[in-house]
Symmetry: C2
């Protein structure tokens, strides 16, 4: 790889002049010299050594995307179309802004932070990483952090969060179930995070607004680990005999549940109505097509990245950004009376 030094030598000028042309510092170099350098740069296809540039400027042009690895969660979280869409949104936005993306999958916040210091990453996007311990570690790291779907009150004090109005999205679809005559509605979640709790609040509110009492038995916990999922589904299918409809916190769970129900001869939506949350390809391609709450996951990635880029430019951003959701009515809900 050719260096600035070598170019300067061949053109018989100083490295600073070459560097100035590269950085378009007009007024510091004559038009003639500028053209000479530019032509040469093109001829040799000069590419800067970013490590050297980083070292000199103390910035890296890297944005880290850290995903919490949940190997225990339904085989592998990364298999969820959710994650790929997110990555796509982040990568595109970052690249268009001249940054690079370093992807990191781990469940250890400290490990991520070491990695981030090592590379002097300019900013960080965290998905599903931030527990209270993680916050303490991240605090020491003085660069901008944007979180996705983090509901920790502690976390919000320190970092911007990109999320949804999860409660409203859930309220809307549960309310829809109620307008279709359903009163006995179950809530399925793995109970692991703030997103699910927000959705549970929306669920409860929709019930209480309709004068339906929420009981603990409405809440059905799914255990998504590969070695537990079967027995978990067995249990859930049994309990669902007391319900006419189910809200699942994700399309993945909804589609998984429908498969389990059908395997037991229980038809959706004829015997029970099932709705999800996310609106990804899983529910779209399913037959009957899944009634669900739409969220634009790619937009979440784009928003996270562009918010971070704003912070990098020194602009202020709100602590909390909520993207819209909307109800998608398809074929997994039956009107009853």
């Amino acid at each position: 790889m050719i260096t600035i030094k070598e170019i300067a030598k061949q053109l018989n000028m100083s490295t600073t002049t070459v560097s100035n042309v590269i950085h378009g510092k007009t007024g510091e170099v004559s038009d003639e010299t500028k053209k000479k350098v530019q032509d040469f740069l093109k001829k040799v296809d000069y590419v800067p050594n970013i490590s050297a540039r980083n070292l000199a400027q103390n910035e890296s042009k890297i944005i880290g995307l850290a995903l919490k690895a949940r190997a225990d969660k339904y085989e592998n979280l990364i298999m969820d179309p959710f994650v790929s869409e997110l990555i796509g949104g982040v990568e595109e936005t970052i690249r268009n802004a001249g940054y690079f993306m370093m992807l990191y999958i781990s469940s250890d916040t400290s490990e991520i932070m070491r990695h981030v210091s090592t590379w002097n990453v300019d900013g960080l996007i965290l998905f599903g990483m931030l527990n209270d311990d993680g916050i303490r570690v991240s605090e020491r790291y003085k660069k901008p952090i944007v979180c996705i779907d983090t509901y920790s009150i502690e976390g919000l004090k320190h970092f911007t969060n990109i999320g949804l109005d999860d409660a409203k999205g859930t309220y809307d679809i549960v309310n829809y179930l109620i307008t279709q005559g359903h009163k006995k509605i179950a809530f399925i979640s793995d109970n692991s995070n703030g997103v699910d709790l927000a959705r549970l609040n929306g669920f409860k509110l929709a019930l209480s607004d309709a004068g339906i009492k929420y009981k603990n038995s409405n809440f059905l916990k799914i255990r998504p680990r590969a070695d537990e999922i079967e027995s978990s589904l067995e249990e859930i299918c049994e309990k669902l005999k007391n319900f006419t409809a189910v809200f699942c916190v994700s399309d993945l769970y909804a589609v998984t549940l429908i498969a389990a129900l059908e395997d037991r001869g229980i038809a959706v939506p004829d015997d029970i109505s099932v709705v999800g949350f996310d609106d990804n390809m899983l529910g779209k391609l399913h037959r009957p097509a899944l009634t669900t709450v739409h969220q634009d996951v790619k937009a979440k990635g784009v928003m996270a990245a562009s918010t971070l880029l704003k912070q990098l430019r020194g602009e202020k951003t709100p602590n909390q950004i909520q993207l819209p959701t909307h109800l998608v009515i398809r074929d997994t809900v039956k009107k009853i009376n």
Copy 2:
């Protein structure tokens, strides 16, 4: 961030001594000094500045993973679970070996290569990137490259490829269709790459071994672009009236097709049998569950990464590595006579 220089100053010794301890250069530093430095390093949580290290050593510890962006392909290729599994496999392997992963999504090989030079990336994994033009560009880049699912003869001369025995996998499942009494079998593909051609060869061989003649009309082209997919499926469903079974080059296409068929009142497998290739969650969760050819995509990523790591260590690797496939019989094929 604390530097070696600062540490050396505080401990009243030279930077070289600190550096030697960091790199475990035993025999160059006394046990006493060693312990003193190690304790201090732990105390201040020293993290090296990788840009500086890269600059000094002329290596980056970065492995680039470049994915061909096909925004035109079924909305966004990255949505396919295939891609997320692949990323997961690569990331895990690389991280365990002390490397970092830079993810790059683009359709322009030259752009990728500029990026790669800029970062002085140690090695590169390419998925779906390598046309003949790409090969020319990559040639100039003297670092190891491992390709995934690249069938270009030209490409194989230069770079290791990780793939499957696509022809055999296809042969097996088409042969299974034949044993179930099917003779009129369609082949659905978007006809875009070498993988599909290899599968077509397996398809043809299975037919001819059974004494069935392959005609051009067996080949049905799917156009996956969002604005064409509907009309494309309409066309395919019409043509499928002449067939009793279909082989699709991916589970994604198979599941998409089944949804289209059901929307038109054509039942799978009662009216027509459908099989796919990949065995991802899409087919697994589908009901009826999809009969398909299993491939381990994560293993593909792991193999690509570990092969690249071998090359980085200077070990020889074969030009072509083929991972096994196997038939997964589920519920989308009906026995006829």
